[in-house]
Amino acid sequence: MAENLDPVWMIMFIVRIVFAVAIVFFMSILILSLSISLDDDQLKRFSHELSENILSSELAESKGIISEAKLDSFIANSSNLISNVYPGMGDEAAFMLGDIQFGQYPNIEPNFARHCLIGYSASIRELNGDRFWDFGYRPSGLEEYGLADENFKSSQESFPISVMKRDGSLQQAEMELRVFIDPMTRYSCLAEMAKTTKEKQELGMPLCTISRCTVSIRNFYDRNNYTCTIESPHQGSSDAEYVACRYLPGVSIIPSSLTYLKDEKKKLVAYPVKEGAPYSDIMSDPDNSMQISQDNCDSLKAAWIATDADNVKSVIFCMEPR
């Protein structure tokens, strides 16, 4: 044993250990510093697919040639639709749903070109003329608090097109598409899927970066044409400050205010609810709107979730552990 405790041998042993540790450390650094990112340009590719849809739609005379008359008619009909559902709403409706007073910018993604998850706005502009047409979803400048920037994705693409004027002449034009995936488009897609598939839909919530994050979802002024988020859960339908609204006709949302804490892992679940389901109005006691929302979830989940055989009356959002 004594010969094995020879100091030279011990030093060499230590050197070998240090060498081995260094190699392990170096290999670990190499392995763990390698990251592979796959960027599939989803929004960019979607823009091109969307342009194909719009430029071959009922607005088009021929592929890539949009009719001025059909565009005018589409904008006017969309504006009338909004005016009829929300008469005399004034500036707030103008801000959220488009400046319909002047027949411009309707916040409507038409049936011939829409996507559940990805919202978009289209802007068609004559290059040598002064006419332009805008329509589609517009995210609010008021971003939802507490969510990292990566939850708000957008992309912008332009396409050279032509507008066929009423006299049959062709005017060079440009169609600009802005596409978005943001919290509002995710929530509206969740509601739409729950309603159409009659199955609960789940969305893993991004981590909250502030002490408490709130998700307040409801229809725009209690009519089933838009899904909206509002800034404060305490606000009623009459004084709500809407953050963003997306056109989603025929889907009734049971108003809810849901919350989760910093670094909590939660999922948002949209349940289809049967006709006749009883629930409490969160505005009956605004200070307890979160508790009422939770109670609504608990009671409706127990007996009122729609199945294949049922008619879906509305959709309720609940916050659950992941």
Binding site: S28, L38, D41, R45, E61, G64, P160
Partner: protein, 282 residues
Amino acid sequence: MKGQSSLPEDIGWTIFIVIAVIFIVVISLIMVGKARFDNYGRGSNLIYSLYFVSISTEPYLVGESLSFYGIRDRQFFEHALESAVTGSLESSSSMNVPAELKLFMEAYEFRRYAVEIRSGGKSVLNLDNILTRCGTAGDGTCVNKYSNDITACGIGRVEIDDAGVCSFYQTCCREEPSSIPTDATRCGPQGIGICSKDLAPPTRRSDIFIPACADGRDYYPDTERCSSASLNGEETPVCCIPITTQNIAAAQTAASAEIPLFFNGTSNYDKDSDSSIEVTIG
């Protein structure tokens, strides 16, 4: 001592276990460190990204619009069809087409565009904004004569009379593939480029390598073939591609759409013998 492990065996096992434990500890520490300090490792050279190239639809859209575009008494498509059949713009009374077509294309403010009507392999109309053409036959390009290339016009070009088109600081150069020295290095897709001198000013090269080619040529990233290339003792690290409609499409700095006009007989469409409108946007 029989039946008992010897000290060297004990040390061997100890080393093995110590290394295993150290490995686990080090990996754990690094992973915890990465989780806690999010920025750790960012900016590492070992990051690979895969990008899908979006399909360019622009030439197809412009081609479709062009087909319906009215020029005087007929639509462009009709002008194109008749000029392709008769073999010239004059024969189809379409002499005003180039000017009107230019106005149409300029409105879109494309960086580069080209529209060509082809018939039986010949060009009936060729309109583009790709180059400033010079020379008596219009087959030259105005090039900055002070660009300090290997020759006045660069490798593969010859100097010709500009016919009064070029500015005082320019000279007229024509692509002359036969003038390319045999020891010059070819590069780019299908070897359409030539490894050339980098004409970027030294200040631009100091921080980020931004190569530059002479007028009438486009940079193409092909460091594999050009990084060690030289000619006449001078380094030629930059791949430069002569700017033509075909070349910029091949280099994927532009996209082309071909709209067949008519077929010859019952055979399949053949670009070299049949007629078409070709739109290139870059």
